[in-house]
């Protein structure tokens, strides 16, 4: 059977090319998302500061629930620290030679005049053996007022031993004497510079002095990694710890690498999910089209005595051969696509430049298997009808468009998709954040699938309406109208990728613009403050700075914003789930002067002590009413109970939850932004001047205003949009290939019809012109359906987020989508028709298909 399949494919080379391309690109797409996912799981950078450690112990940074499976987990945004006592306990273990507790201090070092302060990571000198670092010039820091710099950093700053540098911690600058420069004993300088302080000074600057971010361990001689891990875990007893050994220590050394990997996983999850769904959809559609074009041949096979099983096996073997070859050839382009996406993310700055892609065989194997399996299933499924038909009927049917009514299951499945789409379109009502907004795109996709399934039923009235005026054009219009209306199943197969292209692009692009629009509108209305002071690089403004700002005579209300997340465990149909919300720690006093979150219910004035205010859809999601107590987890996983005192509207531009500073306690870092409003008696200019001279004294503080705050929020939304758009662009490229493919395949399969028309006296121009009209019918239908498919969910989204059913975003996007669709569709029909007409009709009429 494989031999026959091979020969058939070879003989029908030109017809198989379309399917082959669709399969190859699908493999490439799935491989690319697989490579991104694998990189998210396994990519690493070389450990630097912990290069000499045999193990590094950190807190459990992933929140899980008892009874929840592995999907019920949430990465905690705040560092989970380990108690300082643990260092001594570990040091006492026989397996451990040295144990050193390490603070990850976010410091900034003031640069020579005119330049922005450099962010550096600060550590106690007692952690130097973990790298190991040794002094190159001068000495190690021996007193609280001394600091050692890595040589690269010292060169950048142009300082040497004996000179002074300004280190900024919590926005407060302090002078330190450079005791010496240090170098890594095994590797050169790597990611950014580090500064080493006297251990006591490091303890003093740490947010939690008696807790460490990590504990580095040098093992006793001859102790294996497994042994060490077991010993450390049993010594930690009640404290949940994660022990990293070998290269994995980079995960705890570079928290941004961990974040970047999380981002890669997230991107590959959303992009990969879409990519898999769409490519399987396209592959199935392409195979249906190719089997459809071969009905005649299959009928002949039936007539000469092939059993249905043999036909299925033959088509199955063809699908297998084709998908295996195409799959293998698609792997390499897949890697290239992944590389291109990786490079694009790097340029956007969402991935650190030294985090490499991990290219292993697993994604390729999965992609090839997935594609092979899909094409086998799809190939056999579409072959069922021709394979089981009565040969005599098959011969007759093969000569004509299928006339029997569409299968009932298609109608049922189509309606199910419509219902699902309706509920997906409603998610923004229930969940007014970016997750909810994603419901609009899901709804659009489901509607496309519904269009594909309902096909003929849906298309008949539309086509009738559309071709009516065409019939007036005597020859070409009439021919186009008749042939568009005659085979609605083929029309449906050709239309689906086009509708997908239009609907998908519109819904993705406008979902982003609606989100961005909502963010900026909410920020503009939600921030009432007259000025914003922002700290960049020193880990947030310390309490002293906030107090000093409040003490200025020109300021009245001062609201520091501690940005974090809170996680709320909830139960969905009895299964534990985690809902994660962005949260601001705020000072309740004067809050209402600086922020107007759009109160819905309750009183923001009660936001003191163990309380929380939430965006209303978030509160509804967890089923909490104002006045009720909620069990939540803070940013570092600490469980606490808070009372819901208010619900509000502007969760998208501000934060989805607000908690008073005292409820967050030590579990969240200091505020990076501080909102200020002017005292009644101070003119805005006075406030500005006072704040200007205030921030002058603090190198990492910057004075901005409400507009820049909004700009920042917009920039963040834009960045998220760009990350999404990169994935979208790749998927769209694939859909475009599918569009061209299906149109070219279906037009090329009609060369016999063209020849017949030519024989009975149609000029080449008449045939071409009929094809042009038919292309127009297809394009208009695709744009119409695609627009409807995208517009319905977008209208809901836009109504909820912006208060108007017309989605935000430039109308140019729509024009561009329409123009590109038209161009692509037109060329894909007219060019193959032109080339089919080049064959003399006497040959064309004899062609089998």
């Amino acid at each position: 059977m494989l031999e026959i399949a091979r020969k058939t494919l070879r003989a029908r080379r030109s017809a198989s090319v379309g399917t082959f391309i669709a399969l190859m690109c699908a493999t490439a797409l799935i491989t690319a998302s697989g490579v991104l996912a694998e990189s998210g799981l396994r990519s690493s950078v070389d450990p630097h500061r912990y290069a000499g450690a045999d193990a590094v112990v950190g807190g459990e940074q992933t929140l899980r629930l008892p009874g929840g499976d592995f999907t019920v987990s949430e990465r905690l945004p705040e560092p989970v620290r380990l108690p300082a006592d643990l260092v001594g306990e570990l040091e006492n273990l026989d397996e451990v030679d040295t144990a050193a507790g390490d603070h990850h201090l976010s410091l900034a070092v003031a640069a020579p005049e005119g330049q922005d302060p450099l962010p550096v990571s600060g550590h106690g000198w007692d952690t130097a053996p973990l790298a190991p670092f040794a002094p190159q010039e001068g000495t190690a820091p021996e007193r609280a007022g001394e600091v050692a710099l890595t040589t690269g950093l010292a060169e950048d700053l142009g300082v040497g031993p004996g000179e002074t540098v300004q280190l900024v911690s919590g926005a407060v600058p302090e002078e330190y004497r450079v005791s010496g420069t240090v170098t890594h004993q095994n590797a050169g300088d790597s990611r950014g510079g580090s500064v080493f302080l006297h251990p006591e000074e490091a303890d003093r600057l740490a947010q939690e002095p008696d807790a460490y971010d990590a504990i580095g361990i040098v093992a006793a001689p001859g102790v294996e990694a497994d042994e060490l891990t077991r010993a450390v875990e049993s010594a930690a007893e009640q404290t949940p710890v994660t022990v990293h050994t070998g290269d994995a220590v980079n995960r705890i050394e570079f928290s941004e690498v961990d974040e970047a990997r999380g981002l890669l996983l997230m991107i590959s999850g959303s992009f990969g999910g879409l990519a898999v769904l769409i490519s399987l959809f396209v592959v199935a559609g392409t195979l249906a089209l190719s089997v459809n074009a071969r009905r005649r041949e299959l009928a002949v096979l039936r007539a000469i005595g092939s059993t249905p099983g043999q036909i299925l096996r033959m088509l199955g073997a063809e699908a297998l051969l084709l998908s295996l070859t195409a799959g293998l050839l698609g792997c390499l382009p897949g890697v290239l696509v992944a590389r291109a996406m990786h490079a694009a993310f790097e340029r956007l700055g969402v991935l650190p430049p030294d985090l490499p892609l991990v290219i292993g065989p697993l994604p390729m194997v999965i992609a090839v298997l997935l594609i092979t399996l899909t094409s086998l299933i799809a190939g056999v499924a579409v072959a069922l009808r021709p394979a089981w038909s009565n040969p005599a009927e098959a011969m007759r049917e093969s000569n004509s468009p299928a006339s029997e009514p569409p299968a009932r299951w298609r109608g049922v499945a189509g309606m199910v998709c419509v219902v699902l789409a309706a509920s997906a379109a409603m998610t923004p009502v229930a969940l007014r954040n970016d997750l909810g907004a994603a419901g609009a795109s899901s709804a659009a996709l489901l509607l496309v699938i519904a269009v594909a399934l309902l096909g003929p039923v849906l298309l008949r009235p539309l086509v009738e309406l559309l071709v009516r005026p065409l019939r007036r054009i005597r020859v070409s219009g009439f021919l186009a109208a008749e042939s568009a209306g005659a085979d609605l199943r083929r029309l449906g197969a050709v239309l689906t990728p086009l509708v997908l292209a239009v609907g998908f692009t519109l819904s993705m692009v406008h979902t982003q613009s609606v989100l961005a629009g909502a963010v900026s509108a909410q920020v503009e209305r939600g921030i009432e403050a007259d000025a914003v002071v922002t700290d960049t690089g020193s880990g947030g403004a310390g309490p002293g700075v906030v107090e000093d700002l409040a003490a200025l005579p020109q300021t009245s209300a001062v609201t520091p914003l501690q940005e974090t997340r809170v996680v709320v465990p909830r139960s969905v149909f009895g299964d534990p789930e985690l809902a994660s919300f962005s949260a601001w720690g705020v000072e309740s006093e004067g809050l209402r002067e600086n922020l107007d979150p759009g109160l819905v219910e309750g009183d923001l004035g009660e936001l003191t002590g163990a309380t929380v205010a939430m965006e209303r859809s978030g509160a509804r999601l967890i089923g909490a009413d104002v006045g009720e107590e909620i069990d939540i987890r803070l940013g570092d996983g600490t469980p606490t109970t808070v009372r819901l005192v208010a619900t509000y509207d502007r969760g998208l531009g501000l934060s989805e939850a607000m908690l008073p500073r005292e409820a967050l306690g030590e579990h969240t870092g200091p505020p990076a932004r501080i909102l200020l409003s002017a005292d009644e008696e101070a003119a805005p200019e006075e406030l500005e001047a006072a704040l200007g001279s205030f921030t002058e004294r603090y190198p990492t503080l910057q004075l901005t205003d409400k507009d820049e705050f909004a700009d920042g929020a917009r920039a963040e939304a834009d960045l998220a949009a760009w990350v999404n758009l990169i994935g979208l662009a790749v998927i769209l490229g694939y859909i475009a290939i599918a569009v061209v493919n299906s149109l070219v395949m279906s037009t090329a399969a009609r060369s016999r019809e063209f020849a017949l028309l030519r024989m009975i006296g149609a000029t080449r121009r008449q045939v071409l012109s009929a094809q042009r009209w038919e292309a127009c019918v297809i394009i208009v239908l695709a744009i119409l359906l695609g627009t409807v498919v995208a517009a319905l969910p977008l209208a809901v989204l836009s109504l909820v987020f912006l208060g108007s059913p017309v989605p935000a975003g430039s109308p140019l996007v729509y024009l561009a989508v329409v123009a590109l669709t038209a161009l692509l569709g037109f060329c894909s029909v007219v060019l193959p028709a032109r080339s089919a007409l080049r064959t003399p009709p006497t040959e064309g009429i004899g062609a089998v298909d």
């Binding site: 468009p401 006339s403 020859v475 009439f478 005659a486 016999r752 019809e753 006296g761 003399p840 009709p841």
Partner: protein, 203 residues
């Protein structure tokens, strides 16, 4: 008539201006075809020549009526209702005008194709094995119809066939072998035609 590969179809295609001869001239009535442009040839074909092929003759997307009137539509000529009704009645498809080809039998399809060939009142009707795919009864109907169009409607019918019975419907039979005319008989009967054919086949 002639054995496979003797050049029958090529001859037919040259006569219709679908193929150009490498040497020699093709005359259709007063018109010499080799000098005409592709567009002139197409126009000539739809005005003066009618075509009937072996099978799969009709456009599957169109009804029988639209298939029959297609050549008129292509040339932009209004339908002569009287003639059209006459032709449709002759081929016996008056009841089936609004069906699609898939709903017709092979013989009916072929008769529709003949109606299409006649609708333009062509001088010449070319038929390439028109009964090749039909049973003998439908074949006989189709052949009588072609014969009638020659005798009663005054058309020239040029038919290529393998079948001595089909050939016996004609007034003249020409025999082709290896691209050359090798024999001719007038007022043929199936027996005479078979005899000549076997003679040619044996050469």
């Amino acid at each position: 008539m002639g054995p496979s590969g003797s050049g029958k179809s090529t001859f037919l295609h040259c006569a219709a201006g679908l193929d150009r001869p490498t040497s020699g001239e093709v005359w259709l009535g007063e018109t010499e075809l080799s000098g005409l442009s592709e567009n002139r040839l197409t126009r000539l074909r739809r005005e003066r020549v009618g075509f009937v092929f072996q099978a799969y003759n009709l456009l599957s997307a169109l009804t029988v009526q639209d298939n029959i009137t297609m050549p008129l539509r292509l040339s932009g000529t209004p339908v002569d209702q009287e003639w059209a009704e006459h032709v449709v009645e002759r081929v016996g498809l008056a009841e089936r005008l609004h069906h699609r080809p898939a709903e017709l039998s092979g013989g009916q399809q072929q008769r529709a194709a003949i109606a299409r060939a006649l609708i333009t009142r062509p001088e010449l009707v070319l038929a390439d094995e028109p009964t090749g795919a039909l049973d003998s009864r439908s074949g006989a109907q189709v052949l009588s119809l072609l014969q009638e169009s020659a005798e009663n409607l005054g058309r020239t019918v040029l038919m290529v066939t393998h079948d001595p019975v089909a050939a016996s419907y004609a007034q003249n039979v020409l025999f082709l072998a290896d691209g050359e005319l090798v024999d001719a008989i007038e007022a043929p009967t199936p027996a005479v035609v078979s005899e000549r054919m076997s003679g040619i086949g044996g050469r």
